[in-house]
């Protein structure tokens, strides 16, 4: 394959790969949404006055922190039926939703921990420090976007699955290298600007924290 042919091949398949990447983003956003809601509930419980509630919430958070998402993905894929029946109607449980659920477990732990700290800062009127939650959350979204590529192992038609389809369709030995490298490029182009912007926001917020309260806040 000449380099012109390789470029031509990659260009021809670009819309297909982009469609796959849209799935990665969708899965990640759904995972973040589920995880953020549940994590926020846990964080709120940790702040509650009742010790038993706070302790339960802490135990649940601990639990979610120790669950490996990749293993959990297999767990859900095997144990949630692909179809289920509610009052005579057959409903489909799509694989992408299983992937989002598996990824959301990691988000629950993250949000529970970080929002807990942010909430405390907010209560102490340390608003800039509390707002640090926003860049952290966005950076965590990027981690989840990268982890969403694992959805391919349970057959979700996201970018990695589509890479394998292209490789099977095009054939040729060097194809594999270029298609995978190209897919990595998608992740980089999506993540780099966001990561850079959030790093900037974080720096600004940290500077404000530094001027507002001279004492360093511990981790």
């Amino acid at each position: 394959m000449t380099s012109a042919e390789i470029v031509g091949m990659l260009l021809a398949w670009t819309p297909f790969l982009a469609g796959g990447f849209a799935w990665n983003i969708l899965i990640s956003l759904v995972a973040m949404a589920i995880g953020t809601v549940l994590g926020a509930v846990l964080a709120r419980l940790r702040l509650s006055g009742r010790k038993s509630l706070a302790r339960t919430s802490l135990v649940v958070t601990e639990l979610t922190r120790n669950i490996p998402t990749f293993v959990f993905l297999f767990y859900l894929a095997f144990l949630i039926p692909a179809e289920f029946e509610i009052s005579g109607q057959i409903h489909v449980f799509p694989a992408w939703l299983k992937a989002a659920l598996a990824l959301s477990v990691a988000v629950v732990g993250f949000v529970s921990d970080n929002l807990f700290v942010a909430w405390q800062h907010w209560r102490n009127h340390n608003h800039a420090a509390a707002l640090l939650f926003v860049p952290s959350w966005t950076m965590y979204l990027l981690i989840i976007v990268m982890a969403s590529s694992t959805a391919s192992v349970i057959g979700v038609g996201e970018i990695v699955s589509r890479c394998n389809i292209i490789i099977a369709a095009v054939g040729g030995d060097e194809t594999m290298f270029w298609v995978y490298a190209y897919a990595i490029g998608y992740f980089f182009i999506f993540c780099f600007p966001l990561n850079w912007a959030m790093g900037h926001v974080k720096k600004r917020l940290l500077a404000r924290v530094g001027t507002a309260s001279p004492q360093k806040s511990g981790k």
Partner: protein
């Protein structure tokens, strides 16, 4: 009057003796066979090459060869009768045939209506036919893919569940063949013995069976239910045992050009295996039965076995929990070696990540201005590359180029460790550089070097540990390139035993405990460091 009852009784007794005597004579089928000088065996006529008709209409094939050998052993003539899947056991019960050797799968239901002769003489499994140039190397490659299947096959549902296949079920083999031809699916799921005969068709000659057979169902000879424990059963059983020992079945398999089955090779190995005292493992016990390890494991009940096996089967019968990793030596070994591989991946990935992280940070701070920017950029790129894609890229993309250009092949586990270490190492580089920046801010003369690396590591401890815990969690990714770790082992066991609920829970709990232990160990190290600082 008084003699009547006695006479009556005498007639009854005589009649009873006659009946019993007659039954005795009839009950022993072996006598009948020897008296008539002919062994009547039911075989298939439509299942090439196991049982088929030749140009002269004679029944030939793998199974007729076994029947001929039986007749030779009994020193009688052989008469072959064509039977079908629906009438074979009925003909046996009627007494029309003495023995069935007709691709009969050994199942608990059939054991209730006929005497199944152990050991099993062959086994069929499920596999796929795929067009040339397919890139299938393991069943996991089919996950989520469109796979053609033929309606009514007993294995469609369990296979779809176990391997998460997107089954496209067609009516009859012809339609399925066409669908595969037209590329409507990547492969066709079918009986491996059936596939073997399809591949003999020149039209299909370049199609392949890239995957090992699974869901193995052993085949057994059967005799009438009333023949249980008879001399005939014993003779047949001994004959099959001899065939396994001598490897004769392997020869017959080769004679008919059948793709070598793992079942026969394994059986040959098992039946020739000797204990440390020199006795064969498979010798009849005092009860006349074969030892547990030489029998069909799928059909044993807890009353047949002792020890751990007994406990495991008892749990299965009482609760439905099929903990094969407890009682089945093969599954247990598979799982334990998976656990060992996972531990190996975890420890080496932690070490590799730390190495990449420390070397990266040291290089960045070495004073060469160009190097600093380069390391920072590389770390940023590395952190934004999904490790799964990186593993694919290195294993398939780079791996292929290296193999063709230089001829080196790398072990999957080495590549997985390399990729995971690189990904995590990049995060550690960033954490160390941040910590180093803080120290520089506090002490103007500070510069990162070998000497003060421990100090920087200690400052960045929390984020470094978070990265290391993540790499421990991610070790399962090695399963995508068929590294035999815990996930691979667990999915393989599920595929064979059909116990996803049990195995997935065992896998989850095991991983959970491993991650928790890792966290505990790092916390312990942190406490020790703090104590050290206080002193």
């Amino acid at each position: 009057m008084s003699s009547r009852p006695i006479l009556h009784a005498a007639v009854c007794v005589l009649a009873l003796i006659a009946i019993l005597g007659d039954r005795e004579a009839l009950a022993d089928r072996l006598d009948l066979i020897q008296k008539r000088g002919t062994l009547v065996v039911g075989v298939k006529s439509d299942y090439p090459p196991f049982g088929m008709l030749d140009a002269n209409g004679r029944l030939i094939g793998f199974e007729p060869d076994l029947a001929a050998e039986l007749a030779r052993r009994l020193d009688v003539r052989l008469q072959l009768v064509a039977v079908s899947s629906t009438n074979r056991l009925q003909k046996l019960e009627e007494g029309a045939i003495d023995v069935v050797i007709a691709t009969l799968g050994d199942t608990p239901q059939r054991r209730r209506i006929a005497t199944i002769v152990e050991p099993n003489y062959y086994a069929s499994g499920v596999t796929v036919v795929a067009p040339p140039g397919n890139r299938l190397s393991g069943w996991a490659d089919l996950r989520g893919k469109k796979v053609c299947a033929t309606q009514g096959a007993y294995f469609n549902r369990p296979m779809a569940q176990r391997f998460l296949l997107d089954l496209q079920v067609f009516n009859g083999t012809r339609d399925t063949k066409l669908a595969l031809r037209d590329g409507r699916c990547v492969a066709w799921l079918y009986d491996d013995t059936g596939i073997a005969s399809i591949l003999n068709d020149p039209e299909w000659a370049n199609y392949e069976t890239p995957l090992p057979s699974t869901m193995i169902s052993p085949w057994a000879m059967a005799i009438a239910a009333s023949e249980h424990g008879s001399r005939l059963e014993r003779i047949l059983s001994d004959a099959i045992a001899d065939w396994h020992r001598s490897g004769w079945l392997l020869e017959i398999e080769q004679r008919w050009d059948i793709k070598p089955s793992r079942f026969l090779a394994d059986a040959h190995e098992l039946w020739t295996r000797v204990r440390s005292d020199g006795d064969p493992v498979c010798t009849r016990l005092a009860s006349g039965e074969w030892p547990t390890e030489c029998r069909n494991k799928l059909l044993l009940t807890s009353t047949d076995v002792a020890g751990l096996y007994h406990v495991g089967l008892l749990i299965k019968e009482r609760t439905g929990l099929n903990l094969t990793i407890l009682y089945d030596a093969y599954d247990r070994d598979l799982f334990l070696s998976g656990l060992w591989m996972t531990l190996h991946l975890m420890v080496t990935s932690i070490a590799g990540s730390l190495l990449v992280g420390c070397l990266g940070a040291l290089a960045a701070e070495s004073g060469t201005p160009f190097l600093h920017g380069f390391v920072r950029l590389s770390a940023a790129v590395g952190r934004m590359t999904p490790p799964l894609l990186l593993i694919y890229l290195i294993f398939f993309g780079v791996g292929h180029i290296v193999v063709t250009r230089i001829g080196w092949t790398f072990d999957g586990s080495v590549i997985a460790i390399f990729c995971l270490s690189l990904y995590t190492g990049c995060a550690i580089v960033v954490a160390l550089l941040e910590a180093s920046a803080v120290l520089k801010h506090q002490e103007p003369g500070f510069s990162l070097g070998w000497r003060n690396l421990p100090r920087v590591l200690r400052l960045a401890y929390a984020s470094v540990v978070a990265s290391l815990v993540n790499v421990v969690k991610a070790t399962g990714m090695a399963s995508i390139i068929a590294v035999p770790e815990l996930i691979s082992a667990s999915t393989a066991i599920v595929a064979e035993q059909g116990n996803p609920a049990v195995m997935m829970n065992v896998l989850m709990i095991t991983y959970f405990l491993l991650v928790m232990s890792t966290v505990r160990i790092f916390n312990y190290i942190e406490r020790r460091m703090l104590q050290h600082d206080v002193r």
